[in-house]
Symmetry: C2
Subunit: 113 residues, 2 copies
């Protein structure tokens, strides 16, 4: 498996981990766009939102619940944050393993991309 | 209930509906930031990501699955798109009813906010 996020999930590429459980892992983005910029991924390799289905619906929901936990852990839950999921070329998805970007720690712009 | 998205869900404010089922509704944003800009909301009033919990985890997952369907319906699934969820002041959340923005139809910028 040549997926960088699978390697992060398995521990073979070290990252700054913010949250980890049997299904998901969250870590700090190495090119942060805001004071808080974390990435939440499932351990299971799912390429993108286009590959979600009823069997992974609960896992998708858990990704959002873990995003909530990560926001709290990073101290941005009350002031606010943005979750973004890039999908495919126009969405500027770089790593083909579904992930949520969590940005916070400053007033974000109104521009969604 | 004075929530504009609850009024949209109940049909008392007309919008350009893209998708609708018993749990969720998707409609075109009236101030689009891209050729395709839709908003996906649950019919149930949940204020933000901070208010998700285990009882609404499945609904949260379904929001992402419906986003996938909406992307396909709008013809942007293959070229790509971005999903964004604003939460709280720093996240520029305007309407306090959880919603996913879906942007596509052009190459989006790398800036997530």
């Amino acid at each position: 498996m040549d997926c960088i996020f699978c390697k992060i999930a398995s521990g073979s590429i070290p990252v700054d981990i913010v949250y980890s459980d049997k299904d998901l892992i969250a870590f700090r983005d190495i090119h942060p766009q805001a004071p808080v910029h974390d990435v939440i991924i499932p351990r299971k390799h799912i390429e993108s939102v286009n590959d979600l289905n009823t069997s992974t619906k609960e896992l998708a929901g858990k990704m959002l619940l873990v995003a909530k936990l990560v926001a709290r852990k990073e101290g941005v839950a009350e002031r606010g944050y943005r979750l973004s999921i890039n999908c495919g070329p126009d969405g500027t998805q770089i790593v083909p393993h579904i992930h949520i970007h969590l940005l916070g720690g400053r007033m974000l712009t109104n521009e969604l991309g």
